[in-house]
Amino acid sequence: MLNYAVQRLIQAIVAIFGVLTIVFVVMHLSGDPTLLLVPQDASAEMIAELRHQLGFDRPIHIQYLDYLYGLTQLDFGISVVQRVPALDIVASRLPYTIQLAAGALVVAIGIGIPAGIVMATMRGSAIERILTAIVVTGQSVPTFLSAILLIFIFGVTLRWLPTSGAGELSAMILPSIALGALSMSTFARMTRIAIIDELGKDYVRAGRARGLSLGQVVFRHVLRNASIPVITIAALEIGNLLAGAVIIETVFAWPGIGQLAIQSIQSRDFLVVQVIVLLISFVYVLTSVLADLVYVVVDPRIRLVR
């Protein structure tokens, strides 16, 4: 157990550090924000002056060390664009992101897993075909299109739901569906595969041999066994939902991390991007630890050794 904790900690530090470094380097290779900040009629000297003031004229390794030093002081820096601590900016968006990710997860899991179960147990039926079509639709419509279609149908035409924003609870529904659709497909496919795998195992036949119906075997035994691969993708999907929502958040004007991330990248607001990336890789590590713990709960064979 202790061994596990130590290992996970080292892994987490390595991963987060690696992510930071990669993003830092790539970001700085892509230019700095000075040009975007100055008015269009600024002169070359003015730009150079501002760049100097902001410290972007220093060699990249110096900037990097400087940044790392800041981190050791728990100082995440101040956004050059917004002149506000980068951490505050990200923190203010976090609740929205969590809301949306949770909504999407509800859609993805709430629809995806039952659909996968049905598809696995009713192979060859009409219901399976209908579900397959739904699942494939989720996988083949670009989110920028599905989002605007949802807005037009449920917002503009039917007027059932708000078209944008993050105020009321009802505003969450459309973005959750749009964002959850792709994950829903992933869950449905993985669940289907996991269950089909399990259905081929001997204990299923053994269960039926002692008088259980297929449905009973599925609910008593198969689901639990099939949950392990599904937990694995669930952990991966949560990370994806946080920042994978770039386009959805843009279209729905949902003020989450995804939208912030893309805007910060576009405006080269380095420090904000770094905080976001830090946050996401942290969540990633956290969810995979969580997944490990869930494995242990679900599967007595698994011990926290690795």
Binding site: A15, G31, L145, G239, I247, V285
Partner: protein, 289 residues
């Protein structure tokens, strides 16, 4: 007798292929053929603009040219653009899947075979890459590398490889404990030979499955980048970029999204059905004997 028997076996196997798989394979072949031979099938130059014929519905005729599926916002023929767009969408998807497979599988096999430090470094790198959301990484890399078809392929390939590495790694671990691999080692075969002659062919199945799933995703990723203005360079078009233009005209000109949208659906649908079928085929339990 053996000839007869094998012919019989082939017929038997074909008989077992479900109708849906056959239909879908034909569909896929048609899409691929249309894409490859786009210049033959396209009724018009996909980049030829006629500003006076913009946003016209299917069947519209102007100066003796009939636009069977309508025109886009610059008065270009939508069939032709969709056909040529297929080349780009498929091209990006196929090539980026190839790139990520090459990178991912090689690394995965190395990690699984050599273990130790190689394994630690590669698998930690995988962790790192997986914890940066692909779309952000892609946007960042496009910003550095600049846009363009090949760069796009590179960007998508280089952001997606960890998925393959994971699968290849796990599979290699499994396969490398099998007696036939040990037998090869005893025969004196080196790591390279074993990995390419014995491990790779035997882990190809699961990798193929990942690749089919990724294939559709790559097309979506490309269209996402197109939406953000970082995809394929105009005037070339991918299905994604046609749709991202068309979404502004949902009310005025629904056909702009509908035509590539339907194509994309059919493509992803076909690939998925094939992938699932393939998966079932590779599953030893579903094979008789």
């Amino acid at each position: 007798m053996s000839v007869i028997a094998s012919a019989h076996a082939v017929r038997q196997r074909l008989r077992r292929v479900p109708l849906s798989v056959i239909v879908v394979s034909i569909l896929l072949s048609v899409i691929i053929l249309l894409a490859i031979f786009a210049p033959f099938f396209a009724p018009a130059d996909p980049n030829n603009q006629t500003l006076l014929a913009r946003l016209k519905p299917p069947g519209f005729s102007y100066r003796g040219i009939t636009y069977w599926l309508g025109t886009d916002d610059l008065g270009r023929d939508l069939i032709s653009r969709t056909l040529y767009g297929a080349r780009i969408s498929l091209g990006v998807a196929v090539l980026s899947v190839v790139v990520s497979t090459l990178v991912g599988v090689s690394l995965g096999m190395l990690a699984g075979w050599f273990r130790g430090w190689t394994e630690t470094i590669i698998m930690r790198l995988v962790d790192i890459m997986m914890s940066i959301p692909a779309i952000l990484l892609a946007v960042l890399t496009v910003a550095v590398l600049g846009p363009g078809f090949l760069k796009l392929v590179l960007v998508l390939g280089l952001t997606r490889w960890p998925r393959y590495t994971r699968v290849a790694y796990a599979q290699t671990l499994q396969v490398s404990n099998l007696p036939f691999i040990k037998a090869s080692e005893l025969a004196g075969a080196g790591a390279v030979r074993i990995l390419f002659h014995h491990v790779l062919p035997n882990i190809a199945g699961p990798i193929l499955i990942v690749a089919t799933a990724e294939f559709g995703l790559m097309i979506l990723m490309e269209s996402g980048l197109s939406f953000l203005g970082l995809g394929i360079q105009p005037p070339s078009a991918s299905w994604g970029s046609i749709m991202s233009v068309g979404r502004q005209y949902l009310e005025r000109a629904w056909w702009i999204v509908a035509v590539p949208g339907v194509c994309l659906f059919l493509l992803v649908f076909s690939v998925n059905v094939l992938g699932d079928w393939l998966r079932d085929q590779l599953d030893p339990r579903s094979r008789s004997r």
